[in-house]
């Protein structure tokens, strides 16, 4: 055991000290991520010794990876809000909805903006609508933040939760433009054709995954630029002591608003990617449960660290999916009869229950998340050492 940990320390030590080695490792890993959705490649991935595949069998691997990737984008956006600025936002999926609907309304030939209101003659291509989607998501972030950032803490959580719910209900009930539950079909796809003339972006999830992965990489770098500048310092200062930050010349309200706007913009990108793939947008995806799932991703991974957010975003999608596959491999029974009732115990059905257990267990044993940033980790260590008076009595 100690030999293993020793090796681990030596390896991590090497990568910590040598920058080229670190960059090399990241490049190799990113390359791995790009080839991952190819069947010829992932078929060989399994837990050594026991034959448990690491890939998913319930859904197409590329599709699952694409879902992971747009969730990761959301987690990255929310990480700016929750992780860096310390603002609890429970309605983050609302911005995803804004992005998705913007793309849908502008690229679908069946959009009512075209068929009924004649705002424009013919649908725009997907690519043109993405910047608009981002801009609108950013704007809605500002519009939501302007009034609600005046309230603090848990109240902010409920205000944002309310906002997401309102967006969903408007999308559900609103018949004039968003078409209610029937939604908007025939949403445009991203551009590009293979050499043989067939469009790249159709119903195969693989190219979307590549596109989303690229966006994740871009987002990581841009957010990293922010975090390592005065902006990131201002956010952390606000998180740690808002009043002191204000008195040291940090325009706290403005930076909180920026955090909201940037998070929202990233959420909007994610929504526009999803809409481009899904071809159909209605209100069903924008439930509050999803907002909570993204928040869980950020905190599970480790708030305030982009690597953590990525890990979290990956896990919240992948683990439930993978549990289904494991059930298939071992041929677990799908139902059990207890008394006279058939209980559905298939991993498919229980995957969110497993996931819930996972959340509880991780939070009990690693409340700082799986991959926290150095600063947060220290904070948690200190908290643990502080003995709570009275807990022993209870």
């Amino acid at each position: 055991m100690s030999a293993v940990t020793d090796l681990w320390h030596r390896v991590t030590g090497f990568f910590n000290q040598s920058k080229p080695a670190r960059i090399g490792l990241i490049v190799v890993f990113v390359a791995f991520l790009y080839v991952l959705p190819n069947r010829e490649f992932y078929e060989y991935l399994n837990i050594p010794g026991v034959w448990i595949p690491l890939y998913t069998t319930g859904n197409d691997m590329a599709f699952v990876l694409f879902t992971c990737t747009w969730t990761i984008l959301l987690a990255l956006g929310l990480n700016v809000v929750v992780g860096y600025a310390g603002l609890l936002d429970l309605g983050f999926f609302g911005f995803f909805a804004v992005g998705a609907y913007t793309v849908a309304l502008m690229t679908s030939p069946e959009s009512k903006l075209i068929t009924e209101y004649n705002w424009f003659e013919s649908p725009y291509p997907w690519l043109v609508t993405v910047p608009i989607a981002i801009a609108l998501a950013l704007l809605s972030g500002v519009l939501l933040g302007w009034p609600s950032l005046r309230v603090r803490g848990d109240y902010l959580a409920i205000v944002t939760l309310g906002f997401a719910e309102v967006i969903r209900i408007i999308a559900k009930n609103q018949d004039w433009i968003l078409n209610g539950d029937r939604g908007i079909p025939q949403v445009g796809h991203p551009p590009g054709t293979w050499p043989d003339g067939t469009p790249i972006f159709q119903f195969d999830a693989k190219p979307y995954y590549w596109l989303a992965l690229t966006m994740v990489i871009v987002a990581v770098f841009l957010i990293r630029n922010l975090v390592r500048s005065r902006v990131g310092r201002a956010w952390v200062a606000i998180r740690e002591d808002e009043d002191a930050a204000e008195l040291m010349g940090v325009p706290t309200f403005r930076f909180k608003l920026w955090a909201f706007a940037i998070g929202a913009a990233v959420g909007g990108i994610s929504g526009s990617l999803w809409a481009g793939y899904n071809n159909f947008v209605n209100s069903a995806t924008f439930s509050v449960e999803n907002s909570i799932l993204v928040l869980a991703a950020v905190l599970l991974g480790g708030a305030g660290n982009q690597a953590g957010a990525i890990l979290g975003g990956f896990l919240v999608v992948y683990v439930p999916e993978w549990l289904r596959s494991v059930g298939d491999v071992f041929g677990w029974p799908k139902t059990v009869r207890v008394f006279d009732i058939n209980l559905d115990v298939s991993p498919t059905s229980l995957r969110y229950a497993f996931f819930g257990v996972l959340l509880i267990v991780v939070m009990i044993f690693r409340p700082q998340g799986l991959w926290p940033n150095r600063r947060r980790a220290a904070e948690f260590k200190d908290r643990r050492q502080a003995v709570v008076v009275g807990e022993g009595v209870g």
Binding site: Y155, G162, F163, Y352, G356, L359, V389
Partner: protein
């Protein structure tokens, strides 16, 4: 906008709103109690409520009253309701205590940060909801008809059904009992002491762990009561019934000032009324939007809710 609907239906809209509001208030009290003592949004409380709805339903089913059976006599109905209340309260109370023991207590031992609690709360909510979903096949279950639907009071078009009357009376009695319990008894003093300053209370000999378990139990009991009336009002339940109603009850708690017991009552009733009037005015599709818009607008102007936080002290 249908102003005439609002004006013509005003008395009946008020009764409907107050009835729904009483249910919200009962659930909101669970959020507010826990928040007041632990500063924790007990996200799993909606599932505590949901377990109560099933507890009552199964009791009735076990006694031979299913969604297809005929209406029993009044005496039997009252018996069934009383039994349902007891079972639902016990089931919900037990669920709440289990959640506290499994999901929150280990974190408190480790002095985890507030956000970690929120995540385990979400996790616990997932577990409870999904287990119930798996156990019940994720379908909707109907309730047996218990109380007659012809109004007990009918004055010039203003009608009150037996169910509305029962809901309101029982809710008020239960809330009055809770208020007395918290204000007058030794346990209640313990709750208030921990809410004000947990560590000092512990030094003064209050058993913090017991107080916290008690608070969860109380919240669960009230949610169980709410569950029975919700069952009878909507006539059905399913594994995810808790989510939206829990969200709204939490909104009600915030509306009144979270941590404040009377605030939960005021917030719940107000939310019920606003929803009722609002759905007449804008159409029932918009009920949920109205609830949240009111909440958001109110928080802009009174950031600590109508009555402010008070079970312990207000938080900066």
């Amino acid at each position: 906008m249908h102003f005439d609907d609002l004006v013509n239906g005003f008395p009946n809209l008020t009764t409907t709103g107050l009835t729904q509001g009483a249910i919200y208030a009962l659930i909101a009290l669970g959020y507010t109690l826990v928040y007041g003592v632990l500063r924790l949004i007990n996200f799993a409380h909606s599932e505590v409520f949901m377990f109560g709805t099933f507890g009552a339903m199964w009791t009735w089913g076990w006694l031979g009253f299913g969604s297809t059976s005929g209406r029993p006599g009044l005496g039997t109905a009252i018996m069934l309701i009383a039994l349902g209340l007891v079972v639902a309260a016990v089931v919900s109370g037990a669920t709440a205590v289990v959640v506290e023991l499994v999901a929150y207590r280990p974190l408190r031992r480790r002095n985890a940060p507030p956000l970690a609690f929120l995540i385990t709360a979400i996790g616990a909510s997932f577990v409870l909801m999904e287990l119930m979903g798996a156990a019940t096949g994720r379908i909707q279950f109907g309730m047996p008809p218990l109380l007659p639907s012809n109004p007990v009071i009918n004055v010039g078009g203003w009608r009150i059904t037996p169910l509305q009357l029962a809901t309101f009376v029982v809710a008020l009695v239960v809330m009055f009992a809770l208020d007395t319990f918290v204000q007058k008894t030794r346990f209640g003093r313990g709750i208030r002491a921990v809410a004000q300053d947990a560590n000092t209370a512990a030094l003064m000999g209050v058993n913090k762990g017991k107080v916290i378990a008690l608070v969860f139990l109380l919240g669960g009991l009230l949610a169980g009561v709410a569950a029975v009336f919700h069952n009878m009002k909507t006539g059905n339940t399913r594994f995810n019934v808790g989510f939206l109603i829990g969200l709204k009850a939490f909104a009600a708690a915030v509306l009144g000032g979270i941590g404040n017991l009377r605030g939960a009552l005021v917030g719940g009733l107000l939310l019920g009324l606003v929803e009722s009037y609002g759905s007449a005015l804008f159409g029932s599709n918009w009920t949920n939007v109205i609830a949240f818009v009111v909440l958001v607008v109110l928080l802009m102007f009174r950031p600590t809710g109508l009555l402010g936080e008070s079970l312990g002290r207000a938080r900066a």
